[in-house]
């Protein structure tokens, strides 16, 4: 396995003195699909920005594919880790969709043919029709602007993609579309994906591994199924597992496991018990 990220005893203190991260350590292998969960102010965004090199540790070190983020130039780091902001408008600033997506590759001083190719590839992956090339990003719908934002990150071909709140403000169908798309990038293109989210059903359905944070510390880190079974620790951090998980946890006296992740799974467990087949 290839180590993608190693966070070693990182503390981060903001210029105003707020401690964003306290002695956090984490290792991520290439190809993993993770979720960072926790309340606002728990440290999940600070951790993510340290991984992306947007912030540099006050204490400790972050290694991305074996390189220390304090020593790698930002332009090079951007080819390793891409960070997609929650609000696409925070990262869009060019006059056309094409220029927006081409901005990063042009900064890498790539020949224009290669820039062109990367833009076309990125637009294709996110499902943006060629006809949008010359549109102004601000006149597109929010869903399309988000796709442009993702395409502009993909054009850098980063191996690790961090997405901040991919489903906030999205409805059920839009959330599924975005998450299926990230899953496709993970499975078919080998990207390591980290989502930062409050959306627990989405975590249960898509993330293999979950890192729960509170007060700037990592309080749980493991397979999502195991993390959601730690109901007491999660309750202290004000994190509510999905409703179906909570239902199973109320029924442990009937031998229901505390780590049920889906309705389908719960229905099967009930059926086994009702039909006396267990």
């Amino acid at each position: 396995m290839v180590e993608a990220i190693r966070v070693e005893n990182v503390t981060y203190i903001y210029p105003d003195g707020t401690v964003g991260l306290r002695d956090a350590s984490l290792r991520v292998e290439e190809g993993e699909f993770l979720a960072f969960i926790g309340q606002n102010g728990s440290g999940k965004t600070t951790l993510s920005k340290n991984i992306a090199g947007l912030l540099k540790p006050t204490k400790g070190d972050v290694w991305v594919f074996g390189r220390n983020t304090k020593e790698v130039p930002m332009s090079e780091l951007a080819t390793m880790v891409g960070y997609i902001f929650q609000n696409p408008d925070h990262q869009l600033f060019n006059q056309t969709v094409y220029d927006e997506i081409a901005y990063g590759p042009r900064n890498l001083k790539l020949p224009e043919e290669e820039v062109e190719e990367r833009v076309r590839e990125a637009m294709e992956i996110v499902g943006l029709d060629e006809s949008y090339r010359d549109e102004h990003p601000f006149f597109l719908s929010k869903g399309l602007r988000q796709r442009v934002a993702i395409a502009s990150i993909l054009a850098m071909r980063p191996k690790v993609i961090i997405v901040d709140e991919p489903t906030t403000g999205q409805d059920f169908r839009q959330s599924i579309d975005i998450m299926d798309f990230l899953t496709m990038l993970n499975r078919e293109h080998g990207h390591t994906i980290i989502i930062i989210t409050h959306d627990m059903p989405i975590v249960a359905k898509y993330a293999e591994r979950t890192v729960a944070m509170a007060g700037g510390r990592i309080i749980l880190d493991g397979p999502t199924r195991w993390v959601f079974s730690q109901s007491e620790i999660l309750a202290q951090a004000n994190i509510k597992p999905p409703q179906v998980t909570r239902l199973a946890q109320r029924l442990t006296d009937l031998d229901f496991p505390p780590d049920v992740l889906s309705v389908e799974e719960m229905a099967c467990l009930i059926e086994q018990r009702a039909r006396g087949g267990a």
């Binding site: 309340q39 606002n40 719908s141 906030t168 403000g169 999205q170 409805d171 059920f172 169908r173 839009q174 409050h198 059903p201 004000n238 994190i239 509510k240 999905p242 409703q243 179906v244 909570r246 239902l247 109320r250 029924l251 009937l254 309705v263 389908e264 719960m266 229905a267 009930i270 059926e271 018990r273 009702a274 039909r275 006396g276």
Partner: protein
């Protein structure tokens, strides 16, 4: 039954410059004191419908309206937004977008002072609104922007409640908040339901929390109303909701799945407690 406090009749609306109708013929009755949850996918016309109920449409937006909207006896085409605002309070998704004042106290009393109510009455209404939204006294001097997201939204709700409108519309009041903030706002909605006999209309994606509070659920889909029913009937048709891009809470999807497997034939559970009871009966009953 008394006349509905809100009557929407064959309402159509399209924004100026757009060829497409956002609302394509909506009929809806809402009665005084009802708690109504409006659900549906994004861009289906929920917010536009809400703006038709407080008169912002057609008064403040250019466009074409057909049909009629009668709110508390007022035809929205014949009354100003200010007149309609006497009966209808509105809470936006982003509380900051509606703050006008430098302190919580000023924010809550702002509209009351504008109405030139007596001092004692202003004071009394403010205390009542703050108590209902659980905002502590020592917050009165704080600037609203120093509060957490959930607190800001509670102040926004308090300033609407202080007006004692007959009808309160909340447009996705928790969508911009973190889970703690969402829970705080849902608790306020629960208090409103229990202690304030207003008509409350909430547009919300968090069905797990809204379903147990609602008297009536409305599904808006592509500019039309597809279903209106009390929650238990509304959520009985889980497959219908899924087809319309609405995802019911886990426990309801579970009940539906158990029904398909021939294990359950009862009403759809609204809460975790009811779901627990359902499972205990199924597992205990057969064995």
């Amino acid at each position: 039954m008394a006349d509905p406090v809100i009557q929407v009749r064959d309402l159509k609306w399209r924004y100026e410059g757009s060829r497409e109708w956002v609302l394509k013929g909506i009929d809806l009755d809402i009665h005084q004191g009802e708690f109504v949850g409006i659900v549906g996918p994004n861009d289906s016309g929920k917010t536009t419908l809400a703006m038709c109920l407080n008169g912002l449409i057609p008064n403040n937006y250019p466009g074409v309206m057909e049909g009629r909207v009668i709110v508390d006896g007022m035809d929205t085409r014949e009354h100003s937004v200010a007149e309609i605002a006497e009966s209808v309070g509105f809470v936006f998704p982003d509380p900051e977008s509606q703050f006008l004042s430098m302190t919580v106290e000023e924010e809550v009393v702002f509209a009351l002072e504008n109405r030139e109510l007596p001092k004692e009455e202003i004071e009394e209404r403010m205390r009542w609104a703050l108590e209902l939204t659980k905002i502590p006294e020592d917050y009165l001097e704080k600037p609203p922007y120093e509060l957490s997201g959930g607190e800001k939204q509670r102040v926004a709700i308090a300033s609407v409640l202080a007006m004692r409108p007959k009808i309160i519309i909340l447009d996705e009041p928790t969508s911009m908040l973190d889970p703690i903030g969402k829970t705080e706002v849902i608790e306020v909605l629960t208090e409103m339901k229990r202690r304030y006999n207003a008509t409350v209309i909430v547009i919300e994606h968090r069905l797990e929390d809204i379903a147990p509070l609602a008297d009536k659920m409305v599904l808006v889909y592509h500019g039309t109303v597809r279903k209106v029913a009390p929650p238990r009937e509304f959520f009985q048709g889980v497959d219908f909701l899924l087809e319309h891009d609405v995802f019911p809470p886990d426990v309801m999807v579970l009940a539906n799945e158990l029904r398909k497997r021939g294990l359950y034939d009862g009403p759809v559970p609204m809460t975790l407690e009811e779901a627990e009871q359902m499972v205990r009966e199924i597992v205990g009953g057969v064995g």
